[in-house]
């Protein structure tokens, strides 16, 4: 069942195109990471999904409700934490949460119950009576997260939830998001790859307004051309070894990266994804009795996928 459907979303600010023809769908229960460099269009896309920013073209819907034609219904199914978590500095934490709870239509005894629930879930108990202006960044993110959780929405949209936090705080927020992901559909945007690898089961890579990939991390790394790359360091006749390596069938290209002090040549062997050329390469070098000190097969990860898709050369 689809939670979010985006069709041909296009956003242009004058002549600058921020998001170009983005289409994707997110099913219920998925945890999706929007990955992309700064300025890629992640936040713009998220703002269009929430209905805050009207698209130049295209439509988006949440739980079947179009965000522009049926905004109130769509917003009732969504909890949104904007980038930089805007909060009212002149309110206390519990006051702010109460205000947001009532805005979302929660009434009666459920208000207090929901506030207690989100404060507990986000670890805000020690700060519940504090003014928001006195909170550290980590706690502000938690308040934003608590606000998004109010009313138990089906969909959580978190824009860079770990932005600007120190490593301890990042770990805590990630734990929190991971635990939330069990009961909600989550969309989060980030440029930290390890975050996506740890939390998400689907990745959408955006660069310069275009969606470059939308798939599970495993599928994405599988078909990568950087997979199967082997790096070798040896001392000896460079041309001979290169020629023999290139003659070997799965090898697509051999690159001489340079010569290190002591006469060690460093080679990068690019081969078919999924093949292991280490054995053959070692055999070739050993057959000439050349000394070899390093042979390593690169295991592809999301960073390779990301770099591959977003490089500027």
């Amino acid at each position: 069942m689809s939670m979010v459907i985006a069709e041909h979303l296009h956003k242009a600010f004058g002549r600058f195109v921020a998001v170009r023809d983005a289409s994707f769908s997110i099913d219920k229960g998925e945890i999706v990471g929007f990955l992309g460099p700064n300025g890629a269009g992640k936040t713009t896309t998220m703002k269009m999904i929430t209905g805050y920013l009207p698209p130049t073209a295209g439509t988006a819907s949440i739980a079947g409700f179009d965000v522009l034609k049926n905004p109130l219904e769509a917003r009732r199914h969504m909890g949104y934490m904007p980038e930089n978590v805007p909060l009212y500095d002149d309110m206390r934490v519990y006051e702010y949460l109460e205000y947001r709870a009532r805005l979302k239509g929660i009434c009666g005894s459920s208000v207090r119950q929901q506030i207690a629930f989100v404060i507990d879930r986000c670890g805000l108990e020690p700060k519940r009576k504090n003014m928001i202006s006195t909170l550290s960044k980590g706690y502000r993110q938690r308040v934003g997260l608590a606000d998004a959780l109010l009313g138990n929405p089906d969909l959580l949209i978190l824009d860079e939830p770990t932005n600007g936090l120190d490593p301890n705080q990042i770990r805590q927020i990630r734990e929190l998001v991971r635990s939330l992901a069990e009961e909600h559909t989550v969309i989060l945007s980030t440029h930290i790859l390890s975050e996506v690898e740890q939390i998400c089961n689907k990745v959408i890579i955006i660069d310069q307004g275009d969606i470059k990939a939308a798939d599970t991390p495993a599928n994405l790394t599988h078909g990568l051309r950087a997979a199967g790359r082997v790096s070798i360091e040896f001392k000896g006749d460079l041309d001979c070894v290169v020629k023999e390596l290139e003659a070997f069938a799965p090898v697509k290209k051999v690159m001489h990266e340079g010569t290190l002090p002591g006469g060690w040549h460093r080679l990068i062997v690019r081969a078919e994804p999924g093949t292991d050329t280490r054995e053959k390469a070692a055999a070739i070098i050993a057959s000439h009795s050349f000394p070899m000190r390093h042979i390593y097969r690169h295991i592809p990860n999301l960073e390779d996928v990301f770099v591959e898709m977003t490089r500027r050369d």
Binding site: T50, Y88, D90, L103, G105, C107, S109
Partner: protein, 273 residues
């Protein structure tokens, strides 16, 4: 997580949400030093105006104290600035802080946001005029003191004659409704509170002087239109107890028009991004 297990009590009432926004905005006025500082300053200036009025009243023709307070030149000095002060931060600050995004992604309509802020600002404005209701009581205290201390009973002074109070308060409430709406409109048009304040002040001053055009230019053919709009004439008439329904209609319709325009402006600024 389907609706059958959803145990959160919710309401879809339009007015519940409106009341939430209204309550929060009013608390921002009265629960922080801002509102009380504005109230204190206004009371101070009203008091200053009062001392000038008492001088006039000792030689005057028997109108109520409010008539002299509102026709005093000092009155306009603080009256015009109340409106930008109260309203300039209402929508401009939300946009600048980024919290407008939080409001527009909650299940709240633009109209609810505008009306909630408007009514909170209007309520606060009405509160600013409440301390003046104490003047007759203070005057009685003063008289009592004088009669005890000096044996003379100074009569007259400030009384609770209904005709003296209903009229002025009506015109203050009506014109205030419009001017607050104007201030909220200016706040909606920009991210900067200062520009909102300047815009609002300029519009207020323009409106005031439109009413006084006939004093400069005499009775030219279009003069009745300016007489109709003249706030000084309306205040003068109402303060004497003459409650004319034409300004009532004028201000109510202007207020509704301005609020509708404000709602459109907020939506427009979101859509044109």
């Amino acid at each position: 997580m389907d609706d059958s297990t959803d145990t959160v009590k919710r309401t879809r009432s339009y007015f519940a949400t409106l009341r939430t926004i209204y309550g929060k905005e009013l608390k921002a006025f009265l629960g922080t030093p801002f509102g009380w500082v504005v109230l204190a300053c206004t009371m101070g200036l009203q008091g200053f105006c009062l001392q000038a009025v008492l001088q006039i009243m000792s030689k005057a023709t028997g109108e109520g104290v409010m008539y002299y307070m509102l026709s005093n030149v000092n009155f306009w000095f603080y009256f015009i600035f109340i409106f930008p002060l109260i309203t300039m931060r209402s929508l401009a600050e939300e946009e600048r802080q980024g919290t407008l995004e939080g409001l527009l992604t909650a299940p709240v309509t633009t109209a609810q946001i505008v009306l909630g802020k408007y009514f909170a600002a209007y309520t606060f404005y009405l509160i600013l005029w409440l301390p003046m209701l104490l003047y007759p009581w203070m005057s009685d205290l003063g008289n009592m003191y004088t009669s005890i201390r000096y044996g003379i009973d100074p009569e007259g002074s400030i009384t609770y004659r209904l005709a003296d109070w209903v009229g002025p308060y009506c015109i203050l409430a009506l014109s205030g409704a419009f001017f607050i709406a104007l201030g909220i409109l200016c706040s909606a048009m920009t991210r900067s509170q200062i520009i909102a304040g300047i815009l609002s002040t300029c519009l207020m001053i323009t409106y005031y002087f439109m009413g006084r055009v006939t004093e400069l230019w005499g009775e030219f053919p279009a003069a009745p239109a300016f007489h109709y709009l003249s706030i000084t004439e309306q205040i003068s008439a109402f303060s004497r107890g003459l409650i004319d329904t034409r300004p009532v209609v004028l201000y109510l319709t202007l207020t509704i028009l301005t609020l509708a325009l404000t709602k459109r402006v907020v939506d427009y600024r979101r859509w044109r991004r």
